[in-house]
C-alpha cells in the first residue's frame, strides 16, 4: 500500500519536474540536460558581438524547422531585412519561414527623440504585438532581442521596471518558451539588471581575447530546477550556426569496446598482445623530432581505411599535401582514401584561433564525418595557442569526447630534446590508454629509431625495444641487438650481427674441421687396422706354411727311418733308441740324503 503511494508520488513528481524545450543548438541541449525551461523565459546576456541575437535566432529557427514549434522574434535593434541578411550566411532562410507561417518577425522600433512623454503610460502595445505575433503563427517560442533597448526609449524607469515584471509574468502565463537577450553590464550580468526578473535560466555568452586569440564561451549561470554543466563551454559560430561544446563529459561512463584494431604495423600489433589496440582507445605516440611519429599515425590511418573505417586527420603542423607526399615515400598511399571519402584532413595553424575554437572545430568535423579514427598531429603544437594547463584541459575534453563516441584516437606528441623522454610536454600521458615511445639512439656516429610500448592498458604487451625503420616498404620493426654492450641499433646492430655471424661461421668451420680430422683419424686407424690385419694374416700364412713343412719333413723323416730300419732287418735291438739315455743324476742326491 505504502509502496504504491510512493510510486504514484514519484510519478507525479516526475510529471511535475521541469519540462524542457530542445533548443536545437548543437551541444547546448547536452549541457542543459534537454534544453531551455519549457514555457519559461531564459535570459541570454553577453557583450556586443557575443552572439546573443544569433543564439535567439537559431533557437527560433531550429524550433520552427525541427521541433514543430513556431516562434516570434521581436527585434528591438535590427529590421527584419537586416536580420534576414545577417543570418542567411548561416543557412537560415527567414523569409521562407515567415512565408510558411513558422516565424513571425516584429521590428519594435522606438526612437526616444521622436516621442514625448506626457503622463502615465504602460507598454500594453508591446504585449498586444507579441500576442498578435504569437497568435498569427501559433508560436511556442518567443525571442526578445534586446529588451534593454526599452531603457533607452523610455524615460520613466519606474514604469518600465513594473512593465518588465509584468512582461515576464505574461510570457509565463502564455506558456511560451522565451529567450530574452540583454547587454552585459560591468558589474552585473546585464546593464539594466534584467536578471532580477528572470529567475529560471540565465546563460552568459562571452567573447574573450587572450594573446590575440579570441574565444567564444558560454556559461549557464543558473538553471532553476535542473542540473546543468557549470563550466564555461566554448562555442562556435560558423556556416552551420551556433555550436556549443560539452567539452567535458559530465560522466565518466562511456561504453568500451573489446574489439581490437590493427595499428597497420604487424610487428607492432604483435607487441600489443598480437591484435593491436582496442577500438575507441587512445594512443599517444611521443618522441623527439624526426622519430617517425607522423609515419606511425599514417600507418594507423592506412590500416583503418583498409578496414573501411572513416578517418579524420587533424594536422596542426604540416599541410595535407605534404603529409601525403611524405607518406608516399614510405609506401603509405593516403590519397586514394581521400578520394574514396574515407579519409579527411583537417588542417589548421594552432594560432589560427583559440584552443576552444580548435576543439569546437574538431567536434564539428567529427560530427560531420562520423569517423572511427581521429589523428591529432601533433598535440604539442597547441602550446602556442594556450598555456599548458589550458592545453591539457582541452585535450582532456577531446579525449573524453572521442571515448564517448567510441572513436579511436591517435595523438602525436613532440618531446623536446632537453626534457625527460617520458615527459610529454602537455602532460596528457595519463589520459592515454596506449603510449608508444619513439627514441633516437645515437651510437657509432649515427642515429637510429627505437620504439617501445611504454604502456598499454588492458592488454598484454611487449616490454622490449624494437628498432623502427622507415623504408619504401613502409614502417618496419626489427629486433634490436641486446648484449653486454647495451642496445645496439642501425649499423652498430648490423656490425654486431655480422661479427656474430663471422664468429658463428668460424665456429662452424672449426667444428667441421674437427669432424673432418676425426674422420681422417678414423680412416687412418682403420687403414692401420687393415694393414695389421693383413700383416697378421700374412704371418699366419707363413707360420702355417712352416708348420706344414715341418710336419711334412717329420713324416718324411719317419718314413725314411722306417724304410731304413726295414732295410736293416727290423727290430733286433729292444727299446727304441729315443727312450734310452744316460744314468739319472737324481739318484746321486738321494744317496747323499741317505748319508746325512
Amino acid at each position: 500500500m505504502s509502496t504504491t503511494e510512493t510510486i504514484t508520488e514519484k510519478a507525479s513528481l516526475a510529471a511535475r519536474a521541469l519540462q524542457k524545450a530542445a533548443s536545437g543548438i548543437r551541444g547546448l541541449d547536452d549541457i542543459t540536460g534537454g534544453g531551455l525551461p519549457k514555457g519559461r523565459p531564459t535570459l541570454v546576456c553577453g557583450g556586443p558581438g557575443s552572439g546573443k541575437t544569433l543564439f535567439g535566432m537559431e533557437f527560433l529557427v531550429r524550433g520552427a524547422s525541427e521541433y514543430g514549434e513556431p516562434g516570434v522574434f521581436a527585434a528591438f535593434e535590427e529590421t527584419p531585412e537586416e536580420l534576414a541578411t545577417n543570418v542567411a550566411s548561416l543557412g537560415f532562410d527567414l523569409n521562407e519561414l515567415c512565408a510558411q507561417k513558422k516565424l513571425f518577425l516584429d521590428h519594435i522600433r522606438i526612437e526616444r527623440s521622436e516621442i514625448e512623454e506626457t503622463g502615465e503610460y504602460d507598454l500594453e502595445g508591446l504585449f498586444v504585438r507579441l500576442g498578435y505575433g504569437i497568435q498569427e503563427v501559433g508560436a511556442k517560442r518567443v525571442v526578445l532581442d534586446t529588451l534593454e533597448a526599452l531603457f533607452a526609449a523610455f524615460r520613466n524607469e519606474g514604469i518600465l521596471r513594473a512593465e518588465l515584471r509584468r512582461l515576464f509574468r505574461w510570457l509565463k502565463d502564455r506558456g511560451v518558451t522565451a529567450v530574452i537577450t540583454g547587454e552585459r553590464g560591468t558589474e552585473t550580468l546585464t546593464r539594466h539588471g534584467l536578471e532580477e526578473y528572470v529567475s529560471d535560466c540565465v546563460i552568459l555568452l562571452d567573447n574573450r581575447v587572450e594573446n590575440q586569440i579570441t574565444t567564444r564561451r558560454l556559461r549557464i549561470v543558473k538553471y532553476r530546477g535542473s542540473t546543468h554543466g557549470t563550466n564555461e563551454y566554448p562555442f562556435l559560430i560558423d556556416e552551420g550556426g551556433f555550436s556549443v561544446l560539452p567539452v567535458t563529459a559530465l560522466r565518466l561512463e562511456h561504453a568500451v569496446s573489446r574489439e581490437r584494431v590493427s595499428t597497420g604495423i604487424p610487428r607492432l600489433d604483435a607487441m600489443l598482445g598480437g591484435q593491436g589496440v582496442y577500438r575507441g582507445s587512445t594512443v599517444l605516440v611521443s618522441g623527439t623530432a624526426g622519430t617517425g611519429k607522423t609515419s606511425i599515425a599514417a600507418s594507423f590511418v592506412n590500416a583503418a581505411c583498409r578496414r573501411g573505417d572513416r578517418c579524420l586527420y587533424a594536422a596542426y603542423e604540416e599541410s595535407p599535401n605534404q603529409i601525403q607526399r611524405n607518406m608516399e615515400s614510405i609506401g603509405i598511399h593516403l590519397r586514394p582514401w581521400v578520394e574514396k571519402g574515407l579519409l579527411r584532413f583537417h588542417a589548421a595553424r594552432p594560432t589560427l584561433y583559440g584552443l576552444e575554437t580548435h576543439l569546437a572545430t574538431l567536434h564539428k568535423r567529427v560530427a560531420e564525418l562520423q569517423p572511427r579514427l581521429v589523428v591529432v598531429d601533433p598535440v604539442t603544437n597547441f602550446i602556442t595557442a594556450g598555456s599548458e594547463s589550458e592545453v591539457r584541459a582541452m585535450l582532456t575534453r577531446l579525449i573524453d569526447f572521442l571515448k564517448t563516441e567510441g572513436i579511436t584516437g591517435v595523438f602525436t606528441s613532440l618531446t623536446g630534446g632537453g626534457g625527460a623522454i617520458e615527459a610529454t610536454e602537455v602532460g596528457v600521458s595519463s589520459l592515454m590508454d596506449t603510449w608508444l615511445l619513439l627514441r633516437m639512439v645515437e651510437s657509432s656516429g649515427e642515429r637510429n629509431r627505437v620504439l617501445y610500448v611504454l604502456k598499454s592498458r588492458g592488454m598484454e604487451h611487449s616490454h622490449q625495444m624494437r628498432e623502427f625503420r622507415l623504408s619504401e616498404r613502409g614502417v618496419e620493426l626489427t629486433d634490436v641487438y641486446v648484449g653486454p654492450a647495451g642496445v645496439l641499433t642501425g649499423s652498430a646492430r648490423l656490425a654486431q650481427e655480422a661479427k656474430e655471424r663471422a664468429e658463428a661461421l668460424l665456429r662452424d668451420q672449426e667444428t667441421a674441421r674437427k669432424q673432418r680430422e676425426l674422420e681422417r683419424q678414423r680412416a687412418a686407424l682403420r687403414a692401420q687396422i687393415t694393414a695389421l690385419q693383413a700383416e697378421f694374416e700374412a704371418r699366419e700364412e707363413e707360420m702355417r706354411r712352416a708348420i706344414d713343412q715341418e710336419q711334412l719333413r717329420e713324416s718324411v723323416l719317419r718314413a725314411d727311418r722306417a724304410a731304413m730300419s726295414g732295410a736293416r732287418g727290423a727290430n733286433r735291438e729292444g727299446p727304441p733308441p729315443e727312450s734310452g739315455g744316460s744314468p739319472v743324476p737324481g739318484g746321486g742326491a738321494d744317496v747323499r740324503a741317505e748319508t746325512i
Binding site: I115, T118, E120, Y121, G125, R129, Y132
Partner: protein
C-alpha cells in the same frame, strides 16, 4: 481591422482646409484610456476648435494595428495630419509638453506657417 471611428462631436472637415487627424491608441476601456482621450479632446477643442478629428484605436480589439503602426506604449497619440507624424505617449496630463509635441503651443505662428504651403 475595425476602422477608426470618428467621435460625433468632432468636425469632419474644418473651414480652414484639411482637419487635423489625431489618432489615439488605447487598450480596452480603462480609466487611463478614458482620461487620455478626454485630455486629447480638451486640448483639441481649445486649440483646434472644429478643425480636428480624433481616431480612437483600441488595440485590444485590433492587435494588428499595434503591429502595423509600431505601437509600444499605451496610450500613444499620433498626429497623422499635418505631416510629419508626431508621436506622444501618456495620458496627456502634462499639457505643456503635449502641446509642444503636437505643435499647438504657439498656435497662431504655427497656423500661419501651416497655411503657407
Amino acid at each position: 481591422m475595425s476602422e477608426p471611428k470618428p467621435s460625433d462631436d468632432e468636425a469632419t472637415a474644418g473651414e480652414e482646409g484639411e482637419p487635423w487627424v489625431l489618432r489615439i491608441y488605447v487598450s480596452d476601456d480603462t480609466p487611463r484610456a478614458k482620461l487620455a482621450v478626454a485630455n486629447l479632446r480638451r486640448l483639441c477643442e481649445e486649440h483646434l476648435p472644429g478643425r480636428f478629428r480624433i481616431e480612437v484605436i483600441d488595440i485590444e480589439t485590433d492587435p494588428g494595428a499595434a503591429f502595423r503602426d509600431g505601437i509600444v506604449a499605451i496610450p500613444t497619440v499620433s498626429r497623422r495630419n499635418p505631416l510629419p507624424v508626431r508621436t506622444l505617449i501618456g495620458t496627456l496630463t502634462d499639457t505643456a509638453r503635449a502641446l509642444d509635441q503636437l505643435d499647438l503651443a504657439e498656435r497662431p505662428e504655427t497656423a500661419v506657417k501651416g497655411e503657407d504651403h
